[in-house]
Amino acid sequence: MPKMLSKVLKSLVSRPATVRYPYVKPEAVAGTRGKITFDMKKCDLCQDCERVCPSLAIKVFPNEKRIEYSPFRCLYCHLCVESCMQMAIIPDVVVRAPEFEKVIDIFEIERR
């Protein structure tokens, strides 16, 4: 009891241990599994990412040259980033911001 009392008094007068998010952003650690984007200039529609995704969040349509990615089904496990041989999936350390309704991101290859 006396030990805890000294701790409680100490923490009364010292600064809180928490970070005042969202006014102060915590430092980003390199290698954190954040959101992903698809670089369609490098993608060659091989469907490797679709086959490796554990939650079926990526749908590739090779005939229509389009990728549909659902950020709400995604687990942010980055298995697709590891499996893409053309390095067309770009990982980021920032987590995706919340939205009001469920969206699906559509990435298309530009037609020449």
Partner: protein
């Protein structure tokens, strides 16, 4: 792990034995094996796991073990829920509603288990899809990487029976399909195929034909499509005879493709090896004029693969002057009759296909100093393989684009009047037309003019086959059967001049159809091999940056001195290194 097999009657004696040895109860596993269920009770005794296995039918009641091990009630209730078992005498029984799900069918583990399945895990690989004959490219590249050239050779022969030849002359659509082509570093599959053939000590394999069926098939024409059809039909057990007009087998490979691209000993060795394996008889120097005569001789089916040999005319004035050669006659003279015609110093070649490039390089080797290829369209529209064009330029051949001849004035030297062309409007299919520019004529003096604008098909009228406007044989699209019963056709004679691999595709399809007609089962379709486990290479910076192994060629100075082979192929280390670059697109990790 120790397993004890027992049944419902003796279950409790075993349980009491385990209880006396102070075994600890672990859990219960239920497996659905179709007709019956396997119920396994797991116990731990000391440090080992003991399994007690009981087989029971579905919907049969099972006695509970909570009398002996009272802690088993949770596992038994779960088995009741998931497998619709009925367990009697449970001490705490939830009645099949322990797992609070809306409908029991949503979580049941009884087979077949239904649900949203992940997409298909295997496909052919883009390289294999681009090959007209569906050669199993990823598989033979893997076999070369593992050091098995014999396996690679056999894999190619399943779909295309001439790997040593294809490794030298194929235009390799598989390399355009390779995913690494996006970074301009496609895998050099053609040279790998050549290595697999070169690494063997003898091209003849030790394989067995199927049982003789007693049927006889005649193949008219000994070109690539005829050789393919003869090989597959022979391996299926039929007795095949190939009739070839020239004095050697090979067709266009023998007559058109020059010796520095395809040495004649390799061509001969491979074709003879295939014929020996399949028990095919080759009769050279025989020209067939009537198909009915073949039927009368006792043949049950005929395959016509006579090819495309007639030269196409330019349709301009002065075409028949002396010193104007057709490419077909020129190549024939050099390759078949081994002549060395004197072409003079200045040679002009009209055309942009592989025939034109071959004629130009041949002219260089025959001593002409100034060889020029004139093509009426631009470089991108040129149908010749880019590697051939590059090789021609290295050997000193000049290329003039957007020029077309209008008139030839005979004499010594020949005067040829050319006209400049320009790119016009695209037509409905998107290709540009090329229109002449008025008033832009100019004169070129040459010693020899070689026409190389294509070949036309000419089938003897006595065969009785239906042909279209261009003279090509008309066939059923799926089985390649002609209008005459018992006669199939394929290759250049059906499609017009194409490449070796396209003719091989035709030969195989026709062979399968002929076998079915002769009450056989046909050849197997190209399939995906599900039994093999293939791991993708791990994505290190090394594999992403690996540059293609450079293909060795003869130095330029040595090339035009002789007709020796220009490409030198891979040796074992180069082939292994190149094959390890493959990304193995046919299997997900």
């Amino acid at each position: 792990m120790q397993e004890i097999l027992t049944d419902k009657a003796n279950m409790f004696t075993e349980l009491d034995k385990l209880r006396n040895e102070n075994a600890r109860f672990l859990t219960i596993t239920v497996l659905d094996l179709g007709a019956q269920l396997d119920v396994i009770y797991h116990f731990e005794r000391g440090r080992d796991v003991i399994n007690l296995k009981i087989k029971t039918g579905k919907e049969e009641p099972l006695p509970s073990i909570t009398g002996v091990y009272s802690a088993a009630f949770i596992a038994e209730n779960e088995a009741q829920d998931l497998f619709k078992l009925k367990i009697s005498d449970l001490n705490v029984d939830y009645g099949g509603r322990m797992l609070k799900v809306e409908s029991a069918s949503a979580t049941t583990l009884l087979k077949p288990v239904v649900g949203e399945c992940p997409p298909i895990m295997r496909f052919f690989g883009r390289c294999r899809e681009k090959c007209p004959a569906m050669v199993n490219v990823p598989k033979y590249v893997r076999q070369i990487a593992l050091g098995d050239p014999e396996g690679a050779y056999n894999t190619v022969i399943e779909q295309a029976p001439l790997p040593a030849i294809l490794g030298r002359v194929c235009f390799a659509p598989c390399e355009e399909g390779c995913r690494q082509d996006k970074n301009d570093k496609p895998l050099q599959n053609r040279l790998l195929k050549r290595y697999a053939a070169d690494a063997l000590s003898s091209l003849k394999r030790d394989v067995k034909r199927m049982e003789p069926t007693g049927k006889k098939v005649a193949v008219v024409g000994g070109g690539p499509s005829g050789i393919t059809a003869a090989f597959y039909l022979g391996m299926l057990g039929h007795s095949v005879t190939v009739y070839e007009k020239m004095e050697r087998g090979g067709g266009a490979m023998f007559a058109f493709i020059p010796k520095y691209r395809l040495p004649r000993d390799i061509l001969e060795a491979e074709v003879m090896a295939r014929f020996e394996e399949a028990g095919v008889k080759l009769e050279t120097g025989v020209e067939i004029t009537s198909l009915d005569m073949l039927f009368k001789k006792g043949f049950d089916a005929i395959y016509v693969g006579t090819g495309a040999w007639k030269g196409v005319r330019l349709m301009i004035e002065g075409e028949d002057s002396p010193c104007v050669l057709d490419c077909v006659d020129f190549l024939f003279a050099v390759n078949v009759h081994n002549e060395r015609p004197k072409l003079g110093d200045r040679v002009a070649v009209i055309g942009g296909g592989n025939g034109a490039v071959d004629a130009a390089r041949m002219a260089k080797r025959l001593g002409s100093k100034d060889v020029t290829i004139f093509y009426r369209r631009s470089r991108e529209e040129m149908p010749a393989t880019p590697e051939q064009v590059q090789a021609a330029m290295e050997e000193g051949v000049s290329l003039w684009f957007l020029r077309s001849p209008v008139k030839i004035i005979p004499g010594k030297p020949l005067k040829v009047i050319f006209q400049n062309m320009r790119m016009g409007e695209p037509d409905e299919s998107g290709r540009h037309r090329f229109v002449p520019i008025e008033g832009s004529e100019f004169v070129v003096e040459v010693d020899t003019l070689i026409k190389a604008i294509g070949q036309a098909v000419e089938v003897p009228k006595d065969f009785g086959l239906r042909v279209d406007k261009a003279g090509r044989i008309v066939v059923n699209e799926e089985t390649y059967e002609t209008n005459v019963q018992g006669v199939w056709a394929g290759g250049d004679a059906m499609t017009g001049p194409t490449s070796v691999i396209d003719c091989i595709k035709d030969g195989r399809i026709a062979a399968s159809a002929i076998d079915k007609y002769l009450s056989g089962r046909g050849l197997p379709q190209p399939s995906i091999d599900l039994g093999e486990l293939v791991c993708k290479p791990s994505k290190s910076p090394e594999i992403l940056e690996r540059t293609p192994v450079p293909a060795r060629v003869l130095p330029i100075a040595e090339r035009i001195e002789s007709f020796n082979e220009v490409e030198l192929g891979f040796n074992k280390e180069e082939a292994t290194k190149e094959a390890n670059r493959c990304w193995r697109c046919d299997w997900n990790e």
